[in-house]
Amino acid sequence: MTTKTIAGKTVQVNEEGFMTAPAEWTKDIAVEIAKEEGIAELTPAHWKVIEFCRQDAAASGKTPTLRRITAGAGVTTKELFALFPKGPAKKVARISGLGKPEGCV
């Protein structure tokens, strides 16, 4: 387990760059990680998805999968790919300070 400084805050991350303590997450961190992922600006549409993922993970203890996000956050898979290009489930998880989605075993 290593630590990394994002948006001026030191947080724990795993070897794949996913935060391991969701409580350390802040909105500023989300903005920084989004930039690393090539998303220059987080729009309200992005935040809607991020907030759904944060709430869902807090309730279930698990990072939501792509299918769970589309069912729960009211976006289509196509829109998700437009918002978070390439692997949206993984990108949203990283930006939301959550672990890698468990579908990927």
Binding site: S60, T65, L66, R67, R68, K78, F81, K86, K90, C104
Partner: protein, 410 residues
Amino acid sequence: MKKLLILGAGTAGTMVANRLNRLLDSGEWKITIVDQDETHYYQPGFLFLPFGVYNKNDVVKPKRYFMPFGVELIMSPIDVIEPDHNRVKLSDGRVLDYDFLVIATGADIHPEQTPGLAEHEWGQSIHTFYSYEGALALHQKFKTWQGGRLVVNVIDNPIKCPVAPLEFLMLADWYFHERGMRDKVELVYATPLSGAFTKPIASKLLGDILGQKGVKVIPDFMAEHVDPDAKKIVSFDEQEVPYDLLVSIPLNMGAAVVAKSGLGDELNFIPVNKHTFLSDKFSNIFVLGDAAGIPTSKAGSVAHFAVDTFGENFVRYSEGLELLPIFDGHANCFIESGYGKGVLIDFNYDTEPLPGRYPLPGVGPFTLLQESEANHWGKLMFRWMYWNILLKGQELPLPSLMSMAGKWAK
């Protein structure tokens, strides 16, 4: 008499029936198992059917052969599970009540979930080896195929046996070489993952092996639909991958009865405790095998290690003791890599596949994350072990929990 009801007589259900029949007192327990299909399929064998390595007889046997004396086997589709009433309704009208329920209804492919996939080209230029019929049809196709661009595509994860698509590609490389037409075949792997496999070290090493075999990997490809006339798959972000022959691993979902009974997630897999298999919602329902929504591979080896830990744990629980959180997500997969060789991976929830030797540290005979002939023989031997030892719920001389001994850590 206490009633234990098992739904599904596939790999997990059959192993549970055999194991618990031995562990539970037959004077106190009545064990019943329900399934809709008389035939037990050795699913790992489907991989070998298209290449003619196995034939039909290698992969099918009657389910009844594997049911121990004392366990009642009922042949019927299941209509609905009513967990609030501790009962299950069968499609033939019978109602079965239970004290404890084990759901082992597995996972199956759903090509109809992807537009264009299972339409007029299904069985023509679009195939799958993830079903018995599909694997046999692909064998027929290969007999007359003249070559071209063969694309293997995974629609979405999780899938049964996550290494099977890689094995298929490596066997295809060998098979077309043997047939003297490897130069006429382009092998492509389009996957929604960011690399050849999920975990970093295995992804790198398996990706290298694929590269050496001339397989092109297209990562981060999430197929939205297939255009069967233009012969291309199109992703959600509008990448296109053309093919001459598409070998699809369609969406894998849990049984429809799980959804109908309100027990599943978006893909009809049932949330359970990943160390005990106890349902999150019901204290007398367990889920084993592919039906369970736990973050480990959907594979027979996992089901086997799971049943190893579950058997004694269930006995404790039925006597009023607490369940021990013992299952570690252990998976152990032989990966057939062609030319009489194979790769072996051994991992669990916390430890990704690492290089090393197995099962004897430093000795083997099997090599982890490295090609060897021993691994290939291990894979072929496994079919005998499956039919003769595993399904009957007997123990293999391998520990059910993963061990770090013999693995080279980073």
